[in-house]
Subunit: 354 residues, 2 copies
DNA sequence: CTGTTAGCGCATTCAG
DNA sequence: CTGAATGCGCTAACAG
């Protein structure tokens, strides 16, 4: 290489050529080249192809269409039937309102596949997307990335992949707090009804339960761990299993308020009382928890705040400020009337259901 | 007028002139005239003014911009904190999904003024609007009409003005059914806690209550009618008033499940039992009604269906088919465990609260 | 033949 | 003053 190649006529690729040059090569006007360069829509397919070739030949790279803000943020929930999703939506709606954007809500029952939602939202155009529980797959995340649309998953079912924004609660701490509360009341045999064990939050709560027992010097007993799926019915069924044990527990940690509700019914049908014979702790702190009789001791999840945090995270991602990848919000134990010290004497297993 | 004026050269204003004529008069091309005629955006203000003048001089009238469908439908709720609105939103979401449009949800606490929402939705562009409870004022309705955007009010607070689309439940029938059910059980002294009496549905329920009494030959007694506002607290307070009467009622018709919940608490604090001493009927049939102890007898309002009906109505209004102005959905009495025959002997008023 | 829509380039404006 | 980005009105192709 010579020491003075700055005026060498052979030094062609010293940066991108002027648009006029490209325009001449493609046989179109300069504005048309500019439009293709910026992916504007008002160019025919034929012309666009010609110009693209010419651009690339001259060291240009076609830019992504600079999508103007739509003023819309999408949220997808699996169901609105539970108060759970509803609280998240409410929080998201409040935050959207503060940010001056509108919230587009989609209810789509499939807990695993949000592909249709992703495609639809991107086709319409959106400033950001919140997926509740469902984690988009790699292709879907790429589609969002290509469109420069940020995504946040609230309470992801599975461990969120590296780099995916998410919002959650301190599930491990919550499971620990619930169990430690029972230990402090004097319980030694504490059963639990978990959620779906394919679900990250359920596993975290279970781990918290185990840790609390170990910290108290109680050896975890797998016969006291029943697997449920967060529903009322699972709570009812699995509570019966626990109550039928020869050495039945004096307290039950449920994976959700719904599960606790089912367990409460089972305890009553077994002829036992809450909290005199069996203490019960829920998880979520849905409105119904306060209205149950007895009012349910439960782990409060800040669902409204989680919904709001999701939209806040989108906003910060868009504005380039903020580098939070996961926002984890604190749970708090709410002590009500469904927990008490264990009875002096625990009688044997309840008799089978009629 | 002559019998043959079809070829008379003086018969100038026989309909609008061709666009070519207008174009020549305005000194622009024919497509530009077409754009102005259709209120398309890509015409400068100066040119638009010239062309508009020429158009009007030649018997044309500028058309409203034919807004292409946005694929969005707006819904406004006063709050998402009650399960009530949530059910309506859920129904609307399902129907929107069926129609292939997206639902934009706005939570705006003001129960009377939806002006900000109306302006915002119309500025962005929307295919239809659902207002829950709040009735838009005349100016707002006119703004919708100008933009050719249909509006539906769900369960309007006030009697909806002539021509405004609305969806409601058979509130009068519901109030009648609840009361007649108690009459059939043998109750003669039946109290009621109404909703806000500025609200149309509350008045209809009260009228149904009165009608049922009269049909049963029972003279309505105004001391048994307490005015509430649909809340838990009102139920609690007004139930105390009823229970403190010298000749206290053996049954209470509440204006909502929330009100019934408050009343239930008051009855218990008064040392009485439901339904043994006092029967209780709610209104709405929210999920909590089934989970109360005792499970609440209540008038089911098809809230999900009402939400769906609202979006259906919008769709029919848009497609020009369908001339329904108000969809009124049937309520049904759900008999559970909070109602029973009255006690043989009714003791006097309960003693005052501590 | 009348009216509508797509797509291109002129002229202007904007950024450095 | 140069290179790039738009607003806007034209021609051309199309639809009824």
């Amino acid at each position: 290489m010579t020491a003075h190649d700055h005026d060498s006529p052979a030094a062609v690729p010293a940066g991108p050529a002027p648009l006029a040059t490209v325009a001449a090569a493609a046989g179109v006007s300069v504005p048309t080249v500019s439009k293709v360069l910026n992916s504007r829509p008002d160019v025919s397919a034929a012309t666009r192809a010609k110009v693209q070739a010419a651009l690339e030949a001259h060291g240009h790279t076609v830019r992504r269409p600079v999508s103007k803000p739509t003023g819309l943020v999408d949220i997808r929930v699996v169901s609105l039937e539970s108060t759970w999703s509803e609280a998240v939506v409410r929080g998201a709606a409040e935050s959207a309102r503060r940010h001056g954007v509108d919230l587009v809500i989609t209810v789509d029952p499939d807990p695993d596949d949000c592909g249709a939602w992703v495609r639809h939202a991107l086709a319409r155009g959106t400033d950001g997307a919140v997926s509740v529980v469902t984690v988009p797959d790699a292709a879907e995340r790429q589609a969002f990335a290509d469109a420069l649309v940020p995504v946040v998953v609230v309470d992801p079912r599975v461990r969120p992949p590296e780099g995916l924004l998410s919002v959650g609660a301190t599930n491990w701490q919550g499971g620990l707090d619930a169990t430690a509360h029972l230990v402090a009341l004097g319980h030694r045999r504490i059963g639990t009804i978990t959620g779906d064990d394919a679900q990250a939050n359920a596993l975290a709560r279970l781990a918290g339960y185990r840790t609390a027992l170990i910290q108290a010097g109680i050896a975890p007993d797998d016969s006291l761990v029943r697997r449920g799926d967060f529903t009322v019915d699972a709570g009812y069924e699995e509570a019966w299993h626990l109550l039928s044990l020869d050495d039945r527990p004096t307290a039950i940690v449920a994976s959700s308020d719904d599960t606790a509700l089912g367990a409460l019914r089972a305890v009553r049908e077994a002829g036992l009382r809450v909290p005199d014979d069996v203490s019960l702790v829920g998880f979520d702190d849905l409105p119904i928890a306060a209205w149950l009789d007895p009012a349910l001791t439960t782990v409060h999840q800040p669902l409204v705040e989680m919904g709001a945090a999701a939209v806040d995270l989108l906003h910060r991602a868009r504005s380039g400020t903020g580098h939070t990848v996961r926002a984890e919000l604190a749970t708090t134990l709410v002590e009500r009337a469904s927990t008490a010290p264990p009875p002096e004497v625990v009688r044997g297993p309840v008799r089978a259901r009629t």
